[in-house]
């Protein structure tokens, strides 16, 4: 008898993990198929989780019931809060993760997940009938049926490893690639993109002279990604990274050998990301810069490799030797793995709906690098949404679509399906227009109602959220109702802290509005005893009230446009006087709402008014 699943996930990377895990905990019979069981949760590039914007995505995945944050908390070598001084909206956690521990802990977590089976096989085709996906076909010809299929193939679709003029078919670590799946997808009517990314050298620890480098430690404060975890490490147990710079000699070597690199020698065809240029790119494009910053990061406590961040290149191996040896402290370095560029197939994300279901093939979902993104966190964020929506599709329920004002994940998916991408897409805080609302500290407040609604968090977890909300309200009222009376005792507290004494008595709420006043200072005057995260919420809400309210007003404006839906059957040929570029883009993207339409590049405000007029006339829209 042929086996039948609710959800099949193809690929055990960061997208696939979250997809299969969330589908399974939602009670769906789920199968994860991967070409190598040992590589589940692998980190083929940088040994870190989080970073600016990305750290917030990890929190969001956690709030939605995902694994990434919890596993990272158990597996890191150091952790720090970035941008602490730059403002509440842009703070973000970044951890150095151990490349052995992280996948190991992840695999253990998946093994414990109910309703989830894991199988080792290479998928080379889909079972498709009437533009609907019914299952997958493995390399060995085995057919497995499923109500929905999620592809999270990473860089494995026709992967090509490039080192100088050398071009080797395969995925990271010399793994086998999928040779036919992307061709099949093309036959089924999907548009395929060719993308490129790269990874730098790994250096043997014992060959590095750390004494000449600048040491970079983790924070003195304990942190966790997960909102449910207690820190399980000691500050002193963290491991340092190191900072070094390129120099004139390095630049000379690169310039002299430019033609030998895969990119400049013309051996590569994929489009690489602008935010992740190779070192030769940096030196060509920023010729007047005398030096570039590089980091040495430990990969694991269980083997000897250090990751040379910032030095990614597609130069041949002999040139890489010269380049690395020109760096201070790496004169005698032993390169254990050369830097390489990797090209792979992805699908044009304009063919994906905001639910991450495919527009051409029904019941097919995609997440991660196959959708044109880059990064573990971006992959995980899509994975969890694809998993939730595939399992909702099994029950014929409406998908979960996060708004741009809900989450970075919402921004990410909306950008992909609305604007498309020609290079691997990396999340940046600057992409989020409502970033003041999308903070790392309020991911639970933003997303756990969804998580509860879709049964991805426990009753107990949800109750903790409700309690937190209640406490926030209580503390806010408490600060409003109590006044800071200027007794000599209180005035002394101000003096001791070198703060200006207010001219007259005022509520603690108003006092907290002052930029220089913190809630910790107020605690010296009155007793406040709430969990730190409650106090933090209140402090941010009071301090930046004006800015936050303004952001909410803008969200409201946008939401009005988001409510203006565009009928799925609209024929853009019939909308009069649209500019031809707008007509073509609208036809291609098929936006769900007027708001989404207005975000498509090449669609101008005039086109939006014409479209609105047409909808009003044809569909009686307001």
């Amino acid at each position: 008898m042929i086996k039948m699943y609710d959800v099949i996930v193809v690929g055990g990377g960061h997208a696939g993990i979250e997809a299969c895990h969330i589908a399974a905990i939602r009670g769906k019979k789920t199968l994860l198929i991967t070409s190598n069981l040992n590589n589940i949760g692998d980190m083929p590039c940088n040994p870190s989780i989080g970073g600016t914007a990305k750290g917030i995505i990890v929190r969001e995945v956690d709030a939605l019931g995902g694994l990434m944050g919890k596993i990272a908390d158990k597996s890191h070598l150091q952790i720090k809060m970035l941008n602490n001084s730059k403002g509440p909206a842009v703070r973000s956690l970044r951890a150095q993760a151990d490349k052995i521990t992280y996948p190991h802990n992840m695999q253990e977590a998946l093994k414990k997940t109910e309703n989830l089976e894991i199988k080792e096989a290479m998928v080379e085709d889909l079972i498709v009938k009437d533009d609907t996906v019914l299952g997958i076909i493995t390399e060995a010809g085995e057919k497995i049926l499923a109500k929905t299929v999620i592809l999270t193939t990473g860089t494995y679709l026709k992967g090509n490893i490039l080192v100088g003029a050398k071009n080797t078919p395969g995925g990271p670590h010399g793994e086998r690639r999928s040779n036919h799946l992307s061709d099949r997808l093309k036959e089924y009517g999907l548009k395929i993109l060719r993308l490129k990314t790269g990874t730098p050298q790994r250096i043997k620890a014992s060959s590095i002279d750390f004494s000449v480098m600048k040491r970079e430690d983790g924070d003195d404060k304990l942190w966790t990604f997960s909102l449910d975890d207690q820190p399980s490490y000691q500050v002193a147990d963290q491991h340092p990274c190191y900072l070094i710079y390129t120099n004139a000699k390095t630049h000379e070597i690169i310039k002299a050998n430019l033609k030998k690199s895969a990119m400049y020698g013309g051996y590569a065809t994929g489009i690489g990301p602008r935010y992740c240029p190779s070192i030769e790119d940096k030196i060509v494009r920023f010729a007047d810069k005398e030096r570039h910053q590089l980091f040495l990061e430990p990969e694991s406590l269980y083997y000897d490799d250090w990751y040379l961040q910032g030095f990614s290149t597609s130069m041949p191996e002999d040139v890489q030797e010269l380049m690395v040896h020109s760096l201070k402290g790496l004169e005698k370095a032993v390169i254990t793995k050369y830097a390489y560029a990797i090209e792979y197939d992805a699908i044009d994300p304009l063919q994906i709906k905001p639910s991450l279901e495919n527009k051409v093939l029904a019941n097919l979902f995609t997440a991660g690098q196959i959708n044109g993104t880059s990064g573990y966190e971006e992959a995980a964020g899509q994975g969890i949404i694809a998993g939730i929506n595939a399992s909702l599709k099994v029950d014929n329920e409406e998908p979960l679509i996060l708004k741009r004002s809900d989450a970075y994940i919402g921004v990410l998916i909306d950008d992909l399906v609305t604007k498309g991408t020609i290079e691997p897409y990396r999340m940046l805080t600057s992409r989020a227009e409502f970033r003041l609302l999308l903070r790392h500290d309020n991911a639970d407040l933003r997303l756990r109602d969804y998580a509860y609604k879709y049964h991805t968090i426990s009753e107990e977890t949800y109750n903790r959220l409700l309690l937190k909300r209640k406490q926030i309200k209580e503390l806010t009222n408490y600060l409003k109702e109590n006044h800071c009376k200027l007794t000599s005792e209180v005035e002394n507290i101000f003096k001791q802290n070198k703060l200006d004494i207010p001219k007259s008595s005022l509520s603690f709420y108003d006092l907290l509005k002052r930029p220089e006043i913190t809630i910790n200072f107020i605690k010296k005057i009155i007793t406040i005893d709430y969990p730190e995260e409650v106090e933090e919420q209140v402090e941010i809400a009071v301090k930046y009230e004006g800015y936050i309210n303004k952001a909410y007003r803008e969200v409201e404006k946008l939401n009005k446009l988001e409510l203006k839906e565009i009928p799925e059957d609209i024929d853009y040929q019939k909308v009069k006087n649209l500019a031809s570029e707008a007509r073509q883009k609208l036809t291609q993207v098929r936006p769900r709402t007027i708001a989404q339409a207005s975000r498509i590049s090449g669609v101008n405000p005039v086109d939006i008014s014409l479209l609105s007029i047409y909808l009003k006339k044809e569909y009686n829209h307001d």
Binding site: C45, T52, Q293, G310, S598
Partner: protein
């Protein structure tokens, strides 16, 4: 936009010809029904046809009709323009006939609105077209033409480019905090940049005042107690008998307007009723109105008589107006001097009379100096001139002020940036650039980052 609209496109009044314009799906078929030329309906686009416009069987006027088929027309719709003989009756009659046969009367600006909605022109251009239509002087016309050409846009684009650089730098600091090599936008740097951008924006706003002067002219209120010769001065300036001039105090009750062009700028003179305390009800209203007009005018020409002692009423009234808006004309300089000019110390004043063109030239010169009209460039200008544009520039300026305020309070950089970004977006709105990838593109184009 199903309706076919009609309107008289030339200024109403007595002229040699008038043009009636019809635009919309039915434009050609409606005109065909009322036009005697049988070839008209099938004729090729952009051709001219001779014949009569008729109302049933009665010929109304002998006309030339221009036929322009979509899309190469102003509105991009089928358009017909009827050149008829001037005169309000004939022209109105033609419009009436067209209305009877299926057209709707166009709302003000509707042809331009259609051109905009049909994607033929952008918003700034649409606004400029409107300015062009209503331009009263050559300078105003030049300004409108330049905006159509996009000179204003390029000015604002430059300013935005400057802003986006600061924004991108801040964003880089935020998104790539580990890059110590990139310039950190500290409070000092931000302060300096905010000040620079503010200054440029202030210049735009100052220019926008010039823009308004060019477009609308300078409103000059002529104020003074009764019988000092305000109306005769006005008439002399206007070279025509418009205001009622008598010797009975208080007869000029209505506001009389007339305009002259000075250095290409329109001077709109407003005669006010003689301002004095009065019990006469009609005159009282006039007095209140006059004070109000004087307070909203750009310039107050305060007229006193050389032949009389200056009264306390006049001195009291003078105090009601801001000094920088005042010019005092000591009229009737041809009569015997009884005025005590010492009492006008601190005010700008000069003698004159209606028989002395020299004195009036001095008045004009004083106005030119006061408004720096010599400095306003009335050719190749691209001042911001309409209300929507001025409002957006003001909003942008306000946002910058907020950013500076937040900067003073030493709020975190990502909070200060909110206002700076707002300012940048307001200016984007002004030139019709919606949110786009500009910022992200700038980050990658100008900063060296990567793994």
């Amino acid at each position: 936009m199903e309706d076919t609209i009609v309107a008289i496109s030339t200024a109403l009044g007595v002229g040699a010809i008038s043009i009636v314009r019809v635009s919309g799906k039915e434009a050609i078929s409606v005109v065909k029904k009322v036009f005697t030329n049988a070839n008209f309906g099938e004729a090729p686009s952009h051709t001219i046809h001779y014949g009569y416009i008729k109302d049933q069987n009665e010929n109304i006027d002998e006309v030339l009709v221009m036929l322009m088929r979509a899309p190469k027309t102003y509105t991009t719709e089928d358009t017909v323009e009827i050149n008829c003989h001037g005169g309000i009756n004939t022209t109105n009659k033609i419009v009436e006939v067209l209305l009877k046969n299926g057209c709707r009367l166009a709302e003000p600006g509707e042809f331009t609105k259609r051109a905009f909605l049909n994607g033929r022109i952008n918003l700034v251009e649409a606004e400029s077209v409107n300015d062009l239509i209503t331009a009263k002087t050559d300078a105003a016309r030049n300004m409108a033409l330049n905006n159509v050409g996009g000179m204003l846009s390029s000015k604002i684009k430059n300013l935005r480019a400057k802003m986006v650089q600061v924004l991108a730098n801040i964003e880089v600091n935020i998104d790539y905090p580990e890059y110590e090599d990139e310039l950190e936008v500290t409070h000092n740097i931000l302060n300096k940049n905010l000040a620079e951008i503010s200054t440029e924006l202030q210049k735009l706003i100052a220019d926008s005042k010039n823009g308004r002067l060019i477009k609308e002219g300078i409103n000059v209120a002529i104020v003074g107690k009764p019988n000092v010769g305000k109306s005769s001065i006005l008439n002399t300036l206007l070279d025509e008998e418009k205001a009622i001039v008598t010797n009975i105090p208080g007869t000029t009750r209505d506001i009389v307007e007339g305009s002259i062009s000075l250095n290409g700028i329109l001077l709109n003179f407003i005669d006010t009723a003689g301002i004095r305390e009065t019990d006469d009800e009609v005159e009282k209203i006039g007095v209140i109105k006059s004070k109000k007009i004087a307070s909203t005018a750009d310039l107050i020409l305060f007229v006193v008589s050389n032949n009389e002692k200056i009264s306390n009423d006049e001195l009291e009234l003078l105090k009601e107006f801001p000094r920088e808006k005042l010019l005092i004309l000591i009229n009737k300089s041809d009569l015997k001097t009884k005025i005590d000019v010492d009492k006008l110390k601190g005010y700008e004043y000069f003698p004159g009379n209606i028989f002395d063109t020299n004195g009036l030239d001095k008045l004009k010169e004083a106005i030119i100096n006061k408004f720096n009209l010599g400095k306003i460039i009335t050719k190749d200008v691209s001042y911001i001139s309409n209300l929507r544009q001025i409002e957006l520039v003001n909003k942008a300026y306000k946002s910058l002020e907020n950013a500076s305020l937040a900067e003073e309070k030493k709020l975190p950089i990502d909070i200060i940036e909110i206002d700076l970004r707002d300012a940048w977006e307001y200016l984007g709105e002004l030139i019709g650039d919606a949110y786009n990838e500009e910022l992200v593109d700038n980050i990658f184009a100008n900063f060296c980052l990567g793994k």
